[in-house]
């Protein structure tokens, strides 16, 4: 093609120069001269967990800095919630951190209950603890499977998903849906535990500790695994706190902060469990903290199964906020009026703001709700752990190689739906 080749090259150079200028403050001086290479680890990549784009500045194989670019999964959930009533918004919160949907529900419902001053009955609190710990196991199993398969241990992925199928069957028994059940609602739960749920849960709790032993047999003392994970991605505890890291990633660095223990919510203070804490803050410690957390979750679930009263309310009886069960509608006029009011208009929340945080499998999920005095929120903001952790990736990956970068991103357990909302 007899096109003016020099013109094309010049405009390409200008575009490239313009793009480089944008990054001036973010990459080191050596990138400007071409001494280090800028490589795009794009939104479509097998090892980034979801659509995460990392712009890597590489000195050979070594990462000098990495600039994360997120937003490829930004769904506008917060703005969508502003046009829904408080109860209807629960279904949207499911889909943010899609590996642990019930913990998002829980965080949102706790904030709503704080805003309107709604009390949750004791039995419902214990049922919520059961749901939350099952969700924690669910999320840690997916994390284990995907982290291991990123580093080459493919069988762990298949084993983890086999256990996960048991958990998903139980979720389906509870809420009708394998994922995204929207089972936790403001005031309690959507419906009582069906009779077939408890035997399934007890059977699962009998066999699961043996399965965790299987995973440990494959990975914990495996010399290949140890080589690839020890000493990689170290974060010192002060830096971790300054950069806002929470959850197992923080506990791997030695800071014993678990909201379930330190600022307990929903009757967690009545359960006995330990908080595993790492020492070195590397990938291996974060991995081992999560394995131990799975065992602690089993402990909590066993205690909850014993503690759970056989009969009792599963949701608050305050009819100003919670719709009545269908059986009541045939008998009481007030029930019909409440039902009508709540499902058409929803309940009203005052023009105040609250912030409430829970310990999700990833870290601390905080929900900030500002009401209007009407039936729809003015602003709902979710502080999600993955967002903060991806922001802290540059300090974790400095000086490592690309293969280690994959290990670090996996160990921090980021979910892009959680990050971008």
């Amino acid at each position: 093609m007899a096109v003016d080749a020099s013109y094309e090259k010049e405009s390409e150079m200008q575009e490239w120069q313009g793009a480089l200028d944008e990054l001036k403050g973010l990459v080191s001086e050596r990138a400007m001269t071409g001494e280090t290479m800028l490589l795009n680890m794009g939104p479509h990549h097998p090892s980034t967990h979801g659509v995460l784009r990392l712009l890597l500045e590489l000195d050979g194989e070594e990462v000098v800095t990495c600039i994360p670019d997120v937003g490829f999964l930004h769904t506008g959930i917060e703005k969508n919630i502003e046009s829904k009533t408080y109860e209807k918004a629960v279904t949207l919160t499911d889909r943010m951190d899609y590996l642990a949907p019930m913990s998002n529900n829980m965080a949102y419902c706790l904030a709503v209950e704080k805003l309107v001053g709604l009390e949750v009955p004791k039995r419902a609190q214990i049922m919520r603890v059961i749901c939350m710990e099952m969700t924690r196991l669910n999320s840690h199993l997916v994390w284990l499977g995907t982290h291991a398969i990123d580093m080459g241990a493919m069988s762990v992925f298949l084993y983890a998903f086999r256990e996960r199928e048991m958990l998903l069957k139980m979720f389906e028994t509870l809420s009708g849906q394998r994922l995204m059940g929207s089972y936790i609602r403001p005031g309690g739960l959507w419906r009582d535990f069906p009779p077939e749920f408890m035997p399934q849960l007890e059977h699962f709790l009998d066999i699961f500790p043996g399965r965790v032993d299987d995973y440990e047999k494959l990975l914990t003392n495996n010399p290949l695994w140890i080589d690839r994970t020890q000493g990689i991605g170290v974060i010192e505890p002060e830096k971790a706190l300054a950069w806002g890291i929470t959850g197992p990633s923080l506990r791997g660095s030695g800071v014993a902060w678990d909201i379930r223990k330190s600022m307990p919510y929903s009757s967690y203070d009545e359960f006995e469990f330990n908080v595993p804490v790492g020492e070195h803050g590397d990938v291996y410690d974060r991995f081992y903290v999560r394995i131990l957390e799975m065992r602690e979750s089993v402990k909590i679930l066993k205690q909850a199964v014993k503690k759970l009263p056989a009969k009792g309310p599963f949701r608050s009886e305050n009819r100003k906020f919670v719709p009545p069960p269908r059986a009541e509608l045939g008998q009481s006029m007030e029930a019909v009026i409440h039902h009508f009011k709540l499902w058409t208009e929803g309940f009203a929340a005052p023009d105040q703001e609250v912030f409430s945080a829970i310990e999700s499998p990833r870290g601390e999920i905080g929900v900030y709700i500002h009401g209007t005095g009407g039936n729809k929120p003015r602003r709902v903001h979710f502080k999600t752990p993955s967002f903060i952790h991806i922001g802290a990736l540059p300090i974790m990956t400095h000086g490592h190689m690309i293969a280690d970068l994959v290990a670090i991103v996996g160990s921090v357990d980021v979910v892009l739906g959680d990050c971008d909302r």
Binding site: E22, G25, L26, V70, G71, H74, G76, E78, K79, N80, E82, S83, K114, L115, G117, L241, A242, W243, G244, I245, V255, W257, S262, M263, D351, Q352, E353, V354, F355, A357, E364, G366, Y368, H370, T372, R378, R379, H381, K383, F387, I388, I390, G391, A392, D420
Partner: protein, 178 residues
Amino acid sequence: MSVAAALDPVEAVKKAFPQAVEDVVEYAGEVTLVLNPDYLPAVARFVRDTAGLVYNFLSDISAVDYYPDYNRPGRFGVSYHLLSMLHKRRLRLKVYLPEDEPSVETVTTVWPGANWPEREVMDMMGVDFKGHPDKRRILMPDDWNGHPHRRDYPLGYETPMFSFNVEEIMKHKPKAKE
């Protein structure tokens, strides 16, 4: 090593910065200190470093838009949610910013982890943080116009299709051919 006893954050801040505190709101067991925006970084550093307060962890930075009610001293309210891991309590610092050119100084010098939450507020609400090292858009594409979380920004939805309007909508809906 002994730990200093917990101080009342409201009293401590009022004593150290008497002109900074404009209002104190207590609701649902939470304390909100409404501050003058000029004093925000100084108060933030003070509550982080003072023994007895030690709000060492920044949980979140969130912004609210009070359009069209305008029932607050500014159109935008930016809240900083702090957590004291030692004393196990939370505090909220709030600043109200005016409608034209809302801007406040960044707290990335106090907590480096404020980098990304502030970028999100800049992107989605259009509040400027003076001195922030990286002011690019974070969640929206780089060439997006507008700030989506503002209340006067439209939700941008497509009209739900029913059988009576489906042909009208499908005429304007883009559809890939190949």
